[in-house]
Symmetry: C2
Subunit: 258 residues, 2 copies
């Protein structure tokens, strides 16, 4: 069973958050975690994320690089109606395809705004500019669609809209082996106390990945040992090892599944 | 006065968050916002951030690229005592310099652990491995130092330690023009209502940067118009324009300074 599971392809994704507001520190990003947690059970692991400004050259370079390097790319931000919304244009340039107001996207906007008292202004029509060959992603929150071109999924930056778009593209994604995680948390333990033993366990189970995450408060500290892998039976073996490691140091661990 | 201020150099930084835990979605990053908010008043703008896994080739490539492209680089994560802590090694490789247990770093650890009942184990001594030519960053939370090599500041990933290290390197940084921000928030307004007019304002004030950030709840929506620049008098002019823009659409705006 192990070999069968291991034979399942690993599928990777990159997340590209586009916009100045996270870089300036004004806004705390939440989209990366949402995307990572949504993709994980589909068998898609986020392998890299970049946060970049609304700058044409930077966006084009990042889209090209990440699209070539990972199975999927998910971008957020820069597809609204204002002057700083340049993502769609840049994605078209990254793939050397044209971009124009497309009839299918225009109809989506017309139908959407017909249900409110708002007009499809020229500014709003910018949101119907879709690269040639892209397919649309439905936006049930504010109407204007995202789009998919090659392996790049272009979504809105507003978390509420992004989540809705993500759920709409989910069924189209081809995942691989699902990576499961277990955390063995030991209060009062320090990394240095178990680093050597943890290294031994990690070397003995090269099919799993082991991480160690210390935490500190004013009065206390501890370590969370995290193990990840595609085979839950192997994960259980690893958890036993990690619990023994903590108990050998006189600490009673807590285990969580994720 | 404007020309004098504009003559001040813009200083940019990249943030490189190293570690699997943010990418997996298990942990919500907070370090990027902390770093951005700390650097802004020093006149250093975060221009790009990357979040990458504990993978040697990826770390080396990112350190080289970002170090060449930006005035400063700040990395977090991967400098603890465990097997997955490979950042120091990779930074040394990125700059083709050697790395070894250095006497100054060893003494820091020995002095630190002498004050507790903990020993300087071989695993802990890994944290005294510092690239040749680097200077140390003090860590008042858990002892083990970070380091600075060329323009790259290598810090811990634990937020509490990272903050302390950041405050210790702050006085050594040479900032440029401080970028100030103002937000004009108009509840009930939609981006499409003001996109054209906002574009006109942005085109008339090319020394400032304008952004538009819509938000949506179940029952309400609105837009935050953000303007940034180094000249506060110009910012005040811009705020007047943005407030007029909102009022012309029948919305009473709220202004915040950041």
């Amino acid at each position: 069973m192990t070999s069968q599971k291991e034979a399942v392809k690993k599928v990777s994704a990159a997340v590209l958050l586009i916009g100045d507001e996270i870089l300036s520190g004004r806004t705390q990003d939440v989209n990366l975690q949402t995307i990572a947690q949504y993709l994980a059970p589909l068998g898609i692991s986020v392998a890299q994320a970049r946060i970049i400004a609304d700058d044409e050259a930077t966006i084009i370079e990042a889209v090209r690089t990440l699209s070539a390097e990972y199975d999927y790319v998910f971008t957020t931000g820069g597809i609204g109606p204002t002057h700083d919304d340049i993502t769609a244009e840049c994605v078209a340039k990254a793939f050397n395809v044209g971009i124009s107001v497309r009839d299918d996207a225009r109809k989506v906007l017309e139908d959407w705004y017909a249900q409110s008292d708002r007009e499809v202004t020229d500014a709003r029509l910018r949101m119907a500019r879709i690269p040639d060959g892209a397919s649309l992603i439905e936006n049930p929150v504010s109407g204007a669609p995202g789009f998919v071109i090659k392996n790049v999924h272009v979504m809105a930056g507003v978390p509420r809209i992004m989540r809705a778009m993500l759920h709409n593209v989910g069924p189209t994604l081809k995942g691989g082996a699902v990576v499961y995680g277990r955390t063995v948390r030991a209060d009062g333990m320090r990394e240095g106390d178990i680093a050597k033993e943890l290294g031994v366990v990690a070397a003995q189970m090269p099919d799993l990945s082991f991480g160690s995450y210390p935490w500190f408060t004013d009065n206390d500290s501890g370590v969370a040992l995290v193990v990840r892998g595609t085979d839950t039976a192997r994960l259980s073996e690893a958890v036993e090892q990690l619990m023994k490691l903590a108990r050998d140091k006189g600490r009673e661990p807590e285990v969580t599944t994720h």
